[in-house]
């Protein structure tokens, strides 16, 4: 029995030593993109892609037009494709005062939707079966900020 206690003590020390070097934020993603819906592309029409960004509770990401110049804006960019990008519409930002900033900040939190509108040319290449892009965001909570992240975006398309 005494040996069991010793073994437990040794294991406990090992666990505690391990926790001292634990990096709980490593690889942490504060935001993700919900799987986008299939988009139908019709020649000569407009196509709209709605992307839902899920931001973890307790975290925020900066608005597309942040309140301070030093902040990294949330930005969705699309790779070159046969469609013509007309607009990327971001949701209205929330104005929130954090203890680390003298001024209220413009942020997104919870689930938000970013909508992209494309004009479709009169002839659509048959090989077009997806639109790809990148979402850049930089997240914080009330005590820490996380290094800027890029998420690749892939939206499957079907031609009418």
């Amino acid at each position: 029995m005494r040996d069991c206690c010793k073994a437990l003590a040794v294991a406990l020390l090992a666990v505690l030593a391990g926790s001292a070097s634990a990096q709980s934020f490593k690889g942490f993603q504060a935001a993700s993109i919900a799987p986008p819906e299939l988009i139908t592309i019709s020649a000569g029409q407009q196509a709209t892609v709605h992307l839902t960004i899920r931001i973890r509770p307790g975290y925020h990401i900066n608005a597309n037009k942040p309140a301070e110049d030093y902040l990294i804006a949330t930005k969705l960019t699309w790779d070159q494709n046969p469609l013509q990008l007309r607009a990327v519409d971001y949701p209205e930002a929330k104005t929130v005062k954090y203890s680390f900033s003298p001024k209220p900040l413009l942020v997104y939190s919870g689930n938000i939707t970013v909508s992209s509108t494309f004009s479709v040319p009169d002839t659509v290449p048959a090989e077009l079966n997806e639109l790809t892009g990148t979402l850049l965001y930089q997240a914080c909570n009330d005590k820490a900020c996380f290094r800027p992240q890029k998420i690749r975006v892939k939206v499957a398309t079907i031609t009418d």
Binding site: C5, A22, G58, Y70, Q138
Partner: protein, 177 residues
């Protein structure tokens, strides 16, 4: 306390400790984290040599014999900006007692964006621009600010992820000086 009772108590403590320790590896719902290491458990701080704003070498191992506050930060990090004036004050107050701040910027744009910031805040301690390799050596440093308090033997005495109070830093520095 008989042997069986002792064993049960030890088991309960072990399970509780496992739960406590595993919290450190969960996604961080807590907004900041501090890890203290007692003397013999302290790990050596990985050495590095990087250029400061004047292109002079800043080598961590040359600070051995001093208490070092090694701060990873970025210009886009709001909480980091709160701490910088504290660090200026610490450098002024404790420098003559064998203390130095070293700030490692994680801005990908490098000196173009870091230099104006250091000038604006009149930083009175070495500032270098870090990279992923250095961040990896220090456990990833994905959350900023991340601050390591390094003892005179060059070992990590405390790690802070996220903003902590000025008083916490002062207590740790005083204890190690």
């Amino acid at each position: 306390m008989n042997v069986t009772t002792r064993f049960r108590a030890a088991s309960a403590f072990f399970v509780a400790s496992l739960l406590f320790a595993s919290c450190g590896n969960l996604p961080p719902e807590a907004s900041s984290e501090t890890v203290q290491a007692a003397g013999e458990q302290r790990q050596p701080a990985p050495d590095f040599s990087l250029k400061d704003v004047h292109s002079a070498d800043v080598q961590l191992s040359e600070f051995k014999g001093k208490v070092v506050l090694l701060n990873f930060w970025a210009t886009w990090c709001g909480p980091c900006k709160i701490e910088m004036p504290w660090f200026v004050e610490f450098q002024r107050e404790y420098k003559d007692r064998g203390f130095s701040v070293i700030a490692v910027s994680m801005d990908e744009e490098g000196w173009d964006i870091v230099r104006p910031f250091t000038e604006e805040l009149k930083l009175n301690f070495p500032v270098v621009v870090g990279d992923d390799k250095l961040a990896d050596e220090y456990g990833g440093v994905s959350a900023l600010p991340t601050t390591f308090i390094i003892d005179k033997e060059g070992r990590i005495a405390a790690t802070h992820q996220g903003l902590v109070s000025k008083g916490d830093y002062e207590d740790e520095i005083e204890r190690l000086l």
